[in-house]
Amino acid sequence: MLKRIYNRVRNWVDDRTGLPQVIGRTARHLVPPDARWWYVFGSATLCAFMIQVFSGIALVFAYIPSANEAYSTLHFITNDAPFGNFLRGLHYYGASAMVLMVGLHMAQVFLFGSYKFPRELNWATGVLLLGFTLIMGFTGQLLRWDQNAVCSTVVAAEQVGRVPFIGKWLAHLIMGGDTIGGATLTRFFVVHVFIMPALIFAFVGLHLWLVLRHGVAEPPIAGKPVDPKTYRREYKELIKEHGRPFWPDMAWRDVVFCVVMIIAIATLALIFGAPKLGEQPDPSIIAASPRPDWYLLWYFAILALLPHGTEKYLMVYGPLLVGLALIALPFVFNRGERSPRRRPWAVAAVLMTVVMIATLWVAGANSPWSPDFNAKPLSPSVVGATSGPVFIGAQLFQAKGCLNCHSIGSDGGKRGPNMTNVADRLSKDQMTMKIANGGVNMPAYAANLTPTEMDSLVAFLQSRKSQQP
């Protein structure tokens, strides 16, 4: 009885909308049989994106995108609203998962050579989606409208300001005027909540359409290169003979992986909660040291480590060239071997990228180039004197900002060389020269120290010797 009603309703909907048929046919489209766990990252990215959409919609129920009020609504969401802290955490770790999955998906597609003929545009739309994802990450961090966000906005404006001719205009476009103010936040809100999600939906649609049009790429076999003349026919035969319906033969792995990911994200959100809010978004608070969220920390490191004088070019043309090179990749190499076994350079490129980003990431997390403004004063046991030139020198070492960049023992900044045993490597004269004249990353102190002060400082540094056996 129930079954009969169900069938009648189903048939009616099918007849009047035609959708169940289309959806069913799409879901059961045939895919290569041996695409196993390697293929889950794309759908995991989509899943992470949907988490972002829903948690984002929920957050906007309380968030007010006003320069004056956003900060207090964030406090309300985090501290007062039921599930608020969890929801912000979900949105943060969801964003992290999305960036991570985009990266894994891209690496897998690259290693398997799946970007080659006829899937060039699958790759190109994917590169654009990667860009959109990073823009979402950056604008999302700015919607966490605290002092760090305000500073980061200025940093972003300074970067686009290096673009020739239209730089200043772009910088003002980002800030919504020539200073930070009431117009700044609404801009990022519109980009983050309307423009970018709309673009992502559109391009995900296109991306998936292309997947259906060209079929899921079969796992590569070494010694079986792509030849645009024969590839389509071979693929058709493979699918005809060995194809399996995507749903449910393949889709179950995607579902399992996505659910594991959701559990991981929810667990992280539950344990760690929302990212901390900084000071209020007041551009006149000077004690700020803006840092991007972890997924852009490696780029922060690049900006710090660029050789002086090259910033102007690398800041503008670097990301542009990387983007263009990524988009151009499948058009330049659209045939030949797909298997990573026959493409050692592809494997090397992925490994190098991973090592590079990981190294920069660690560097960014430590940021040794940032002076330490909270360095502990040197303890008397470290100084080793309570009066005389060594003692005075030690006071000067702190007062003149040396300690902000140079460590003694474990105290102090890491911007410049460690001074614990400096007397082992520099003579008195060498020290005086260096302090007076400075260097690329060190100010010249000649006009900043009296001769007696210089002598005391050098006396203190001369007392920094390794223990003699």
Partner: protein
């Protein structure tokens, strides 16, 4: 995989030359009208979004304190309000500058934004240096670059003394070009 669309664009509908030319005309008419409609909507919308960027704000003088509240040779942070903040700007309408009193009548106001990437630089009074917390840019007390990545000296704001008050002229956040 679909075969490329080989059908006639009119779906095989039989057509006389007169009908063909009429069809061409109608297609062109629709596209042109569509473009006109789009333009009518797009111009005011883009104008609304972009106009604030081209509006030249009237810069104003903001008093940051009495002359005698600043000691000669010292550099202090001063806060003031932007030229014409939006009503909902809240604390984002604040600006800051490093104000140095050179002698009894001369003041210099430095931007707090490092010329490298705009992070707020800090003044180390005992060291007579500005230091940037982001990438370690350092400037001397006159704003010239002492060390690190900044490509140019700290920009200055216009400052004057009027009726015993020190006044700074509001200005855009300096954007480094080089």
């Amino acid at each position: 995989m679909n075969e490329p669309d080989t059908e006639d664009s009119t779906n095989g509908c039989p057509s006389s030359p007169a009908e063909l030319s009429r069809r061409k005309f109608l297609a062109r008419l629709s596209l042109t009208m569509g473009a006109v409609g789009g333009l009518i909507l797009a111009v005011p919308m883009l104008g609304f979004i972009l106009a604030p960027l081209f509006k030249h704000k009237q810069e104003v003088w903001r008093t940051v304190g009495k002359v005698e509240s600043f000691k000669i040779g010292e550099t202090t942070a001063v806060k003031y309000e932007d030229a014409s903040p939006l009503p909902w700007a809240g604390v984002t309408a604040h600006s800051a500058a490093w104000l140095r009193r050179v002698d009894s009548t001369t003041f210099i106001a430095f931007s707090i934004n490092c010329t490298h990437l705009g992070c707020p630089v800090r003044w180390l009074a005992t060291a007579n240096l500005f230091m940037c917390p982001c990438h370690g840019g350092v400037y001397y007390q006159d704003g010239t670059v002492a060390a690190g990545p900044p490509p140019s000296p700290l920009p200055r704001y216009t400052v004057r003394v009027k009726d015993g008050d020190v006044q700074i002229q509001t200005a855009p956040i300096p954007i480094t070009k080089k």
